[in-house]
């Protein structure tokens, strides 16, 4: 949240404003980070109990940036310790049309969401709608976030001063797609989606964001939408943020709550409020309260779940590119009137370059 995703993503693709990079030559530069942590999780999901005890490199990422004048490109390669696999997180090329307009094609990050999608942009260890995971992933529900993350498509971006507008055509945003772009696609579920957003800077550190995504399922009832708005206010030492997201997926959003395409219709409301106070040039504390409410129709039955998460984190920057983040968070929720609780303690070491 130090820099809203909408702004950084758009500017990286459309302008020569500086971003993190180490120049290799005039055309090629790179940046990245190493994120490792120790975390302990206690989860009670009804009668089931689980613990998580993780000490690992959570993520390593190297971003390669190419500058060929009006054409820029970026390839983000990442390794995630949880899955033990390397993936291409982003790979896109942008063409600068002039007057702040650019067109981007490839796999890129969604503009939706207050929280950064990378740990280098977070004040905390965990994300707002992550309600905990245990070692075997049988009691914890993991992330419940309904907002788009990274998808393939084409995006048109307009940067006007500190304001950023974007509209894109995507292959999907929910995970329902079979990698087609609409059509029958051999009988498989072939979705396509649209995303639009606007980030407006009011001055004095206040920024308002409004955006949404809509996905159309061609063969199976997997239409979905997600709307997101957030407001951030940054003063010298204080940063406030508030966010509300609404969404509905006929197939149910991909989360630990489970889904059965065509039989689940899930409606979700998520919100968070956070404040960060920097009490010195290298230290800050962050408080966050987040809420996630889910109502689903599974066949003839209704299913309800809601979660309230409290997070307290401390961020200690050792240098400009090395920080230690400690966090304690507590999740209190119910799933169909069954209690769900999770306590997470974590120490994270983050190195960026």
């Amino acid at each position: 949240m130090k820099k809203t995703i909408a702004i950084t993503t758009a500017l990286a693709a459309t302008s020569s404003l500086a971003t993190a990079e180490i120049k290799i030559n005039e055309f090629l530069s790179f940046a990245g980070f190493v994120d490792s942590s120790y975390s302990h999780t206690n989860i009670e999901n009804g009668a089931a109990k689980g613990t998580g005890n993780s000490f690992q490199v959570d993520e390593v990422e190297i971003d390669w940036m190419f500058n060929l004048g009006k054409v820029t490109a970026q390839v983000d390669l990442q390794y995630e310790g949880g899955s033990g696999s390397g993936t291409v997180e982003q790979a896109f090329a942008s063409y600068d049309l002039g007057n702040g307009l650019s067109v981007t094609a490839g796999r890129f990050e969604s503009a939706l969401g207050l929280e950064a999608k990378e740990p280098t942009g977070l004040y905390q260890f965990s994300k707002a709608y992550d309600v905990g995971s245990d070692d075997n992933d049988d009691s914890g529900l993991g992330s419940l976030n309904i907002l788009p993350q990274y998808n393939q498509g084409v995006k048109l971006t307009k940067v006007s001063g500190d304001n950023v507008y974007s509209i894109s055509v995507l292959d999907e945003f929910t995970g329902d797609d079979s990698n087609g772009l609409g059509g029958d696609n051999g009988g498989a579920n072939s979705n396509y989606a649209f995303e639009a957003s606007a980030s407006i800077a009011f001055g004095d550190g206040m920024t308002w964001f409004l955006g949404g995504a809509y996905e159309i399922g061609e063969n199976v009832n997997t239409d979905a939408y997600a709307a997101n708005t957030h407001l951030t206010v940054q003063s010298d030492a204080l940063t406030y943020g508030i966010e509300v997201s609404l969404g509905e997926d006929e197939g149910g959003f991909a989360s630990g709550l489970g889904r059965t395409a065509g039989t689940v219709n899930e409606e979700v409301m998520q919100a968070l409020i956070m404040a960060n106070y920097a009490y010195s040039g290298s230290s800050s504390v962050t408080g966050r309260i987040s809420y996630s409410d889910h109502q689903a129709t599974v066949g003839a039955a209704n299913s309800e779940a809601d979660f309230l998460k409290y997070t307290l984190a401390h961020n200690q920057a050792v240098t400009d590119n090395l920080a230690v983040i400690t966090e304690v968070s507590f999740v209190d929720g119910t799933i169909n009137s069954v209690n769900y609780e999770a306590i997470v303690g974590a120490v994270e070491v983050l190195f960026s370059f």
Binding site: A18, S283, A317
Partner: protein
């Protein structure tokens, strides 16, 4: 440009059908105009020219030649003046060109000087020699930050654009993990060389909030 002549009242006058006039034929006639009357009366008194309505229609070739020769004689100073103006314009253009060449030369001399500064700072190490080889062969890398004077305008409150103007774009940039710092520019010859020149500029909301200038006082014998 069309010119129309008439000898009415023993004067040649002309009309410009297009405005504004420019230098060329027009200039010749402008210059010719004030000397025509004395020439005409001089010749008329000598050769009894009577066709005053159109002197040039005289049937005498001798008169025509003499008349033209006299006209040329009187016009020579005026033509000379036109040549001077033309030459002045040429000199002005050459001076501008010279100024441009001098400017380019100054820039190249500055770049050469900066590379020499780097070479003097990085002497004694194979790694540094290699680095300097890369640096001196990398035209893209702007090294004006190695000049102490360039840092004078890099003060708290300066914009990113002003820093680019003064120091050039940095070889290394990071998004700071410090809570009140957004971006940090590192100006350094080599990350591993603790004795080389290195400076740092920190930004928040697009403005400079902290500057660490290179230590220009040590290890700069070559400057």
């Amino acid at each position: 440009m069309l010119l129309k002549f008439s000898s009415a009242s023993n004067l040649i006058y002309f009309k410009f059908y297009f405005e504004p006039p420019s230098f060329g034929w027009e200039a010749f006639f402008i210059l010719f105009y004030p000397v025509y009357d004395p020439v005409y009366f001089l010749l008329a008194s000598i050769w009894n020219i009577t066709d005053s309505d159109c002197m040039f229609r005289s049937t005498s070739l001798t008169r025509k030649y003499l008349l033209c020769a006299t006209a040329v004689l009187f016009c020579a100073p005026a033509l000379h003046a036109a040549n001077i103006e033309e030459m002045a314009a040429q000199i002005a253009a050459m001076e501008k060109r010279l100024a441009r060449l001098e400017s380019r030369l100054a820039i190249n001399e500055q770049k050469t000087k900066e590379v020499k500064v780097q070479a003097s700072n990085a002497s004694g190490s194979v790694a540094n020699s290699t680095t300097m080889g890369i640096l001196s062969n990398s035209a893209w890398r702007n090294l004006r930050w190695t000049e102490e004077d360039q840092w004078q305008t890099v003060v708290n409150g300066a914009s990113i654009e002003q820093v680019h103007e003064a120091l050039g774009k940095p070889p290394r940039t990071i998004k700071s993990l410090r809570p009140q710092v957004d971006l940090v520019y590192f100006y350094e010859i080599s990350i591993g060389d603790k004795h080389g020149l290195r400076g740092k500029v920190s930004f928040r909301k697009g403005k400079v909030i902290a500057v660490t200038k290179p230590d220009f006082s040590k290890n700069h014998s070559g400057r």
